[in-house]
Symmetry: C2
Subunit: 349 residues, 2 copies
């Protein structure tokens, strides 16, 4: 057969669904979405679904514009930040020079680069698992940086990002801020200063809407228009009518989300300290997960032990130096107390 | 700025939303989705949305497999048939030879070919606006045929399609059956016989779920696996949890949909005959729309006249020979009675 793409068969990750499990493997939010989301859902008339959704997502754009103090023309909305990022790769990384990203970061950047035949170079994190921006001073076709980075949880400050944007003013720099609401500060205030900056957010983590699929890009109107054109050339209606309505309700209820985000950060900091009692260490995280290690523990064994107790966490086998870690998403206080106890129990054996 | 894609700025189509309007411009279904969809929606707990949706869409695949008498492994589900088609272009059209499709057909095929730099050739419909498959006997990298075709509404029989599949056994032949439930017969029964056949369906038209975004591909498991890999390399969770639940409910209520599909076909046939009284002709449609013409009427003028009466239909300015037509989606009986009367009125002036 002619024309069939050569592509590695994909082995889907498992999304376990066991009653009583503690699911802390994919950085989901342990708290439900805002009660306002429930309310809109309950009152949504199914009859409306017979018509196509709006092409412009105006109500959601207005809610997001108010939240981030940007203009609606600075926003492009898609089916999860994965779709938005895929469109960004198609829209902005066409120079032929390699794009740069860390060797330890969101695993999907490499997959999109492969899919679209975009050359790329992975820049190793330093020995403290930090991104060292001086390593990026080389010819490139664009940058993509997760901030805070995943799965390390480490955050780059506004001054460091400003410097980076200045040094790479001839290419698009994408900041993937998937976990930013658990961190010090978003870089949205740099948008006016740097036209080469594109910031990506998702409602999957901080807004407890992983099952709904809403992500968005913010940037200067000229480049956002290019991004909209790519979306319109691929799947113009990818944000469905229901998802848009529920996402808008979520964004408008900032009070609720501040509350649950605060709780998660508190639990994260408590958990990081607590597990030190059993000899675990964790990188200083500004996300809703922690990357933990232990001098005397084989992480693949701990991973299996946890799974037997119906506690699902994430163990990375690649790259090599991640094998010394487990990534643990932050659940509720009760869940994390139990996890800390199980970790202590494993070490004491 | 380096690396920015050169792409025509997209001018979004309008989706009018005026109280009392007759919206028959985008082939939506005039009837609401199944009451079972409403029921599932009303009882859906928003709390579930905090988790990612299933990666495998198993419940929906099982419902569709039962409906079409295929195996779940023969199905790939995406965010509307637009996304599924875009993935098909990436998965199956990589030979370097031009893919072939009619010059008058779904306008998006050309857009995807452009976006992914796939060479293509548009084969003119014959003077009766029919696809002549003998024109496709030339070197090609794959075929994509809408059946029934849009915006003509004309249907190719199973014998003609079987012949086509035999003549092009070295490439993938995609049949876009977006309107098939309003036609004689789907080609799903040919799937076992022809491994090169991929069939695309959507829930936007016949299932009254345009606002929800569900489409799917059916084919042989080997090629469906390639398609799944492409999806997983682009946006693995593009089918959200709510959309999957509602779509499954719709597919399980075949009785309701047979009823409304029957009504639409009846109204279509009545309308086609009725407007002949005012001198209009229409191509024999097996879809939920008709393409109408009139020897003495300038269609752009009629289009505007209808718009003034809050009746929204579709007028194509390209290619040239479509300017003699209007495409009218089939609404409710009452709506089409009114439209027929307005058409008669325009002619009599």
């Amino acid at each position: 057969m002619k024309g069939i793409r050569k592509i590695a068969p994909y082995i889907p990750g498992t999304q376990p669904n066991i009653s009583g499990m503690i699911k802390i493997n994919t950085n989901e939010n342990p708290y439900p979405p805002s009660p306002k989301v429930s309310e809109i859902l309950k009152n949504f008339k199914a009859d409306k679904l017979k018509l196509y959704s709006s092409l412009d997502n105006q109500p959601l754009k207005e809610a997001l514009a108010a939240k981030h103090n940007v203009l609606p023309e600075q926003l492009m909305i898609g089916n999860g930040s994965d779709e938005v990022l895929a469109f960004c790769f198609l829209a902005f990384f066409n120079s032929g020079d390699p794009i740069l990203f860390p060797d330890i970061t969101y695993g999907f950047y490499k997959v999109w680069a492969d899919l679209f035949s975009i050359p790329f170079k992975e820049i190793p994190l330093n020995e403290n698992f930090e991104i060292d921006f001086s390593d990026y001073n080389q010819i490139n076709g664009g940058l993509i940086i997760t901030n805070p980075n995943a799965p390390t949880g480490l955050f780059k400050t506004k001054n460091e990002i400003r410097e980076l944007l200045k040094n790479h003013s001839d290419v698009i720099v994408i900041l993937d801020e998937a976990y930013i609401e658990f961190a010090e500060d978003s870089m949205t205030s740099l948008l006016d200063e740097f036209p080469n900056l594109i910031i990506i957010h998702t409602l999957s983590k901080s807004q407890s809407l992983a099952g709904l699929r809403i992500g968005y890009a913010m940037g200067n109107p000229e480049y956002i228009a290019i991004l909209e054109s790519v979306k319109s050339s691929f799947n113009p209606y990818s944000v469905d009518m229901l998802a848009e309505a529920l996402a808008t309700a979520a964004i408008q209820d900032s009070e609720y989300y501040q509350k649950i985000t605060g709780k998660i950060c508190q639990t994260r900091d408590w958990f990081s300290q607590k597990i030190e009692e059993s000899g675990f260490r964790s990188l200083p995280s500004q996300t809703n997960f922690v990357l933990i290690s232990h001098d005397k523990v084989k992480m693949n064994e701990l991973f299996q032990y946890l799974e037997e107790k119906n506690i699902f966490v994430r163990y990375f086998t690649k790259p090599e130096r991640l094998k010394k870690f487990l990534r643990i998403s932050i659940g509720t206080e009760e869940e994390m107390k139990r996890v800390a106890a199980v970790l202590a129990n494993f070490v004491s054996k």
